[in-house]
């Protein structure tokens, strides 16, 4: 589980911002928002342009750092534009079966690492300073990785400038995981498994109407009538009553329709809410792996309030252990009926993230109307 995340000098976060998933307040209600003493369902509010999406991108950064692959196309400015510091700092603290693992690194840009460091159970395992080419493999033995031929890694670092490679500084952690035979109980394997199963899903923007080819795989999976029925059931349960039909066209393409007296093409006619919901389904439900962490950005931007509730409750039932961080502007969800004051957060204009129970001296109780309190300014100092 991810226990803490700290970020600095990234996009709009000039100063350090921290999410402490272990900072819970012992409420006896909505206990399904907590798993193993860690917040597993978090809902973040904040005024427009406070950085809710950026925070999600930052949280998921470890995925790309550890697993490589094409970093998502992000043309925006990487470093904070008001800071003179040259790198953005990321720090992740995990807990795996009683072991604490801290992986922190700094980046000059989306492509280039400045340094990285791994600490397990308060022991520094390695430190790499790519800027000054100083590599310190302090205690690889502690994680049973002493067999790693670090010379070859250093060699690979020493490439000429003329060679064009995608990522000039290959993170040592990534190299280590793929080049050393680690025990399956190893914390590194656990870390890698966690990172591999992280996802960010953005619902509230133009991504909704995807180019047709991106839907091909999805449509193909729907040829299985049970799958199609499952999607239909999902839509119905969440609040969209419809009947779906998949047809194979003469040219081999597949097309999804709403079943009426006449067939109505799905993607051309579906409402924004329906498309957003299908997008969520497509990204989450048919996948074969169990997600460890999901950042659902503006997940309910197009949803009726009841559908937003249905989706949250569904996610809680379906992914009880998965750490799901959601952002929303829908204050109707700011309620103790299915959330709790230590899992509801406000991201402020100054880049601080505060849970509701820490945003007032008042003792928050189950009976409190959190939405009304938020609107009337109870947490004003932290907005």
């Amino acid at each position: 589980m991810l226990k803490k995340f700290t970020l600095k000098n990234y996009k709009n976060f000039k100063d350090e911002i921290m999410i402490d998933f272990e900072n819970t307040a012992g409420y006896q209600f909505s206990t399904d928002c907590i798993a193993d003493g860690t917040i597993c369902k978090m809902l973040i509010y904040g005024r427009n342009a406070t950085g809710k999406t950026n925070l999600g991108k930052a949280l998921i950064d470890i995925y790309m750092t550890m697993l490589g692959g094409r970093r998502y196309i992000d043309t925006g400015v990487f470093l904070n534009a008001d800071s003179l510091e040259e790198a953005a700092a990321f720090s992740y603290e995990f807990g795996f079966d009683g072991h604490t693992l801290i992986y922190r690194y700094a980046r000059f840009s989306n492509q280039e690492l400045k340094n990285e460091e791994l600490i397990v159970d308060e022991k520094t395992i390695f430190r790499c300073d790519f800027e000054n080419c100083i590599y310190d493999f302090v205690d690889l033995e502690y994680i049973n990785a002493e067999t790693a031929s670090v010379d070859r890694y250093i060699q690979s670092m020493d490439v000429g400038d003329e060679e064009e490679i995608q990522e000039p500084k290959l993170p040592f952690l990534r190299w280590l995981i793929s080049n050393v035979a680690l025990n399956k109980d190893s914390v590194l394997i656990k870390l890698s498994n966690y990172a591999r199963r992280m996802a960010i899903i953005t619902a509230g923007n133009a991504m909704l109407r995807l180019p047709k080819r991106m839907n091909d795989n999805f449509y193909e999976s729907l040829e299985d009538s049970a799958r199609l029925k499952d999607l239909e059931d999902f839509l119905n349960e969440m609040g969209i009553e419809c009947k779906l039909i998949l047809k194979k066209l003469p040219d081999g393409q597949r097309e999804l329709y709403f079943g009426h007296e006449k067939l109505v093409p799905f993607y051309e006619t579906a409402s924004s809410g329906t498309l957003a919901l299908v997008n969520l389904y497509r990204r989450l439900i048919p996948i074969s792996w169990e997600p460890s962490f999901i950042y659902l950005d503006e997940f309910d931007a197009f949803y009726h309030y009841e559908m937003a509730e249905n989706v949250i409750n569904y996610l809680k039932r379906r992914y009880p252990k998965c750490q799901i961080v959601m952002t929303s502007h829908n204050t109707n969800l700011m309620t103790n009926r299915f959330m709790r004051p230590d899992c509801l957060f406000i991201l402020s204009r100054t880049g601080t993230l505060t849970s509701l129970c820490n945003a007032t001296a008042r003792e928050l109780r189950e009976g409190h109307n959190l939405e009304k309190m938020y609107i009337s300014g109870e947490f004003e100092q932290y907005e």
């Binding site: 001296a361 008042r362 003792e363 009976g367 409190h368 109307n369 009304k372 309190m373 609107i375 009337s376 300014g377 109870e378 004003e380």
Partner: protein
Amino acid sequence: MNNYQGEGRRRSQNLLIVEGNHEKNKLFWLIFKCFPEINIDMDEIWIYGTNIYQLYADIVKEYGEKWAEENDNIDLPFVVSKKQCPDMLRYKEDFTNIILVFDYERHDKKFSEKKILEMQKCFVDATDMGKLYINYPMIESYQHLRQLPDCDFAERKVPVALQPGKEYKSLVKKETIFRSIIDFPQKIDDLPTAKYQLADWVTKQRYVLTNQTYWKYMRDVFQQAIQHNICKANRIQFKQYDIPVGKYKESFERLDFTEILKIQNLASKDSTVGFIWVLNTCIFFIAEYNFTLVMKQREDYTYEAQNAT
């Protein structure tokens, strides 16, 4: 200059609905001074003086006779502002605290068990629709302690026959240990011109520290008064005055103002032999805000206060 900005919204306001008695404003003034954690600026408080039955009538006017039965979502800032300043309507969405403080006033000609019960049932949350605190028999009951601790407080009651309110006030004045300690800041406040001179003198004499101790001392007094009243409410509702150390919060959370009101109504029905349990609920606002304010660091304050005097 642009003209994008419309009329700004003022949030984080506080509404205190009282009977217009100056004492009450002073009580809350003192509470907010002693408990700065509550973070309410006295200037931010909007005080509306009215009688509980007048307020009831105003609610009926806006929401109809059946407002209580129909569980209407009553917007008191709206009701009050519509009457007081119809050009500048206010809504509860802008208020973080709505507090109603009324005397039980059994002897009031307009007294109605039904109405007061409806009000008590409806107004239960200061952060939402508002919270009604009824003081038995009157606001002065918070001072009705003869010593600290005062074990006799458990059975302290006043006969219904003791009316009008003046009688009770003078009784409290006679019996209370509060008078001497509470006078100090009130005097400063009562002398607006001398206030600044005095403050200046206090600063020069480096008496600021003593002054600070005064608030801490009063905080301790309030904490004790609240604890006494929690015990008393427990006595009324559950017939058990003493609460074991460490169980105060639990006991406090079990209290039900509506049940207490029903018991008081029953006890005071008879105008000759009836009685009213002495109980002040409005100081429970502090306990409700954050219970740690009631129990925390008592010893320190007492110690400091004793040293200062």
